[in-house]
Symmetry: C2
Subunit: 371 residues, 2 copies
């Protein structure tokens, strides 16, 4: 295996792609969905449960992990894979977005960003170089370049300045990243809702040359059409032979839209967070298990779903667990939701391979009652 | 299979017994420990995890289940086994102890007890007859007779009156209980810390004739020697050929003491509650995972323990999960603690069968640093 990641596009249908990404910790079928394992755990799941849900790769949050338990501690414990007993691929984000959304007293300059921990108020700094070092200590398979996430809405001047800073940081990240077999670094395209900035950003990152490319700064409050447009504009400029990752997206419909634009990778807290809040994804839409109509419903969440939750438990039981605030409620709903997301990715992938993407996407979209 | 439970004592060593109890939902090796599944779930565990921990039978709380989701609802959903996806044996308590400790505005007379739900303040009544009916609706394998749990400390007059009420209720429960193959009802010995009352209670229940006998009203604040004395006095009066159950006990040392007195069955929230509070049971005592000394400890909780937690995760990770209040921390610590308890029961059982009970009990006791 040579340095960096191996990625093969196996089929293309319209713009949608089916591929295979290979890392130091194994391969992933794309398009793929990565469950979010913020603090070195996908909330309420054991690794065994994740595998049963069909997950092949998880995401770790650099911001959370550098604060607790600390990147040096993770390294000392044998790395993130060993620590969380997840021998499969891991992607870590750069921490940029979390600093933007969670940290206090953020001070940003060209060198990097200084911030106060939301946990204990301690002061920390992240530069492009320390960001690569931190992710290397975590032992990630895919590191993300440090970016500055542009807010929404943002004037074109603000978006441009932010995008330019992200480009400068991207170059420093690429230079600081130490390549090894099966490990790579992705650049992040920014540019707000401005197509020309997205194009400029994508071109600059492509010139630097990354193992993959991410679309950042979406799912921040924009409309669906803005999101699709920005994804499409960006995706079309990225190299065919590298994986494309739409960060923090999203709802099932958003994922279908983005796969249609040629995106290969996704992550989102939605299936896990919804599970902890008593909500379940089904082929007909979102089901709220708090609702009293489930009190004596002997049916599973989805009678066609072969997941451990649907094959073992009825809605009445899930309603009871959610009402009684039982941990098992969060476990079973998260399990089902992750299975649902992984199953969606498999359907989309098989549709690309079978050359039926447009029809399958239309059929999936038509079913949702909660667009 | 004839009506009632099948129980065979396979070996006796000193007073300790090894047996096999067979119910409508399968058999249990005794002495056994039943994890507590208060609201139709052993907190933070899937049934699959329980089986991996070695559990053969769980306990359900009638008080909690009659209030939520309601015994009629449980019946309508196919019974407790089906509802919680636990096809193995279940014992339900009578609700007496929980009314005593949780409910508000308790009014007690010879007919039964009226109380307000701690969940929504609604008014409920439990009589010996309705208690049997409720447990039958739940579909339990072993029902417990309604008792009045004597407080601690209690004057001899109070303890005697309480014991006499329990005896009267026991007779009504026995008469109301509808026997079927593999299902039985246990009487509960009361009498506070008074040996003569315990003897009187045991004799009266024996005369009524139950499928098994429980020792109630212990682990309520008494000293270890009082507990052992009451257990011994009671146990020695119970019929050899029926299972004996010490309710709500206890710490590993208490369990060793009680098995030595001839007790066959146990339940306690300790392993599950401790797990959710960041505490783990090991052969050397209780480990508090909140403690900073575990921050960079690469060792498992117990390097000799083959449980999923000890074979997959280091103390540093468990410390991290507990500090970050992650659900997985509760899951992994509960899993280990239940495995620990089940393993303890197996060791005690094997010691009885091998005729080495005294030596094994002494060895286990000597190891604990937290007597």
């Amino acid at each position: 295996m040579t340095d960096g990641l191996e990625f093969n596009v196996l089929a293309v249908d319209c713009e949608a792609r089916a591929g295979r990404l290979v890392t130091a910790h194994g391969g992933i079928d794309t398009p793929c969905f990565m469950p979010v394992g913020t603090s070195a755990t996908v909330k309420a799941m054991t690794p065994e449960m994740l595998v049963k849900a069909g997950a092949q790769m998880v995401l770790g949050n650099t911001y959370h992990l550098m604060l607790r338990p600390g990147a040096e501690t993770v390294k000392q414990m044998g790395g993130l894979h060993r620590l969380m007993n997840w021998p499969h691929p891991i992607l870590t984000d750069s921490g940029g977005y979390q600093i933007h959304s969670l940290a206090r007293l953020r001070k940003l300059n060209e060198n990097g960003v200084t911030f106060k921990s939301h946990i204990d108020g301690s002061l920390h700094q992240l530069t492009p170089e320390s960001c690569m070092e931190t992710q290397s200590l975590l032992g990630t398979d895919i590191a993300m370049a440090l970016d500055e996430c542009t807010g929404y809405p943002a004037d074109v001047e603000v978006a441009e300045e932010s995008m330019n800073l992200t480009t400068k940081w991207a170059l420093r990240c690429r230079e600081a990243f130490v390549s090894s077999p099966g490990r790579g670094v992705f650049g992040i395209v920014q540019g707000g809702m401005y197509a020309h900035l997205r194009q400029e950003s994508a071109a600059a990152l492509k010139k630097i040359g990354f193992d993959g490319y991410a679309v950042g700064g979406l799912s921040v409050g924009e409309s669906r059409s803005e999101r699709v447009e920005m994804t499409q504009v960006t995706s079309s400029l990225l190299p065919m032979e590298k994986p494309r990752y739409l960060m923090g997206v999203g709802k099932p419909l958003d994922i279908i839209d983005a796969v249609e634009c040629g995106i290969d990778m996704f992550d989102c807290v939605l299936p896990t967070r919804s599970g902890r809040n008593g909500q379940a994804f089904t082929q007909w839409g979102v089901v709220n298990l708090r609702n009293a109509r489930h009190k004596t419903d002997q049916q599973p969440l989805d009678s066609h779903c072969p997941c451990p939750t649907c094959t073992g438990y009825c809605r009445a039981y899930l309603h009871h667990l959610v009402k009684a605030r039982e941990i098992l409620g969060a476990m079973l709903l998260t399990w089902h939701n992750l299975y649902y997301y992984q199953d969606l990715m498999k359907r989309l992938r098989n549709a690309v391979i079978g050359g039926t993407f447009a029809a399958v996407a239309d059929e999936l979209r038509a079913r949702f009652s909660w667009v």
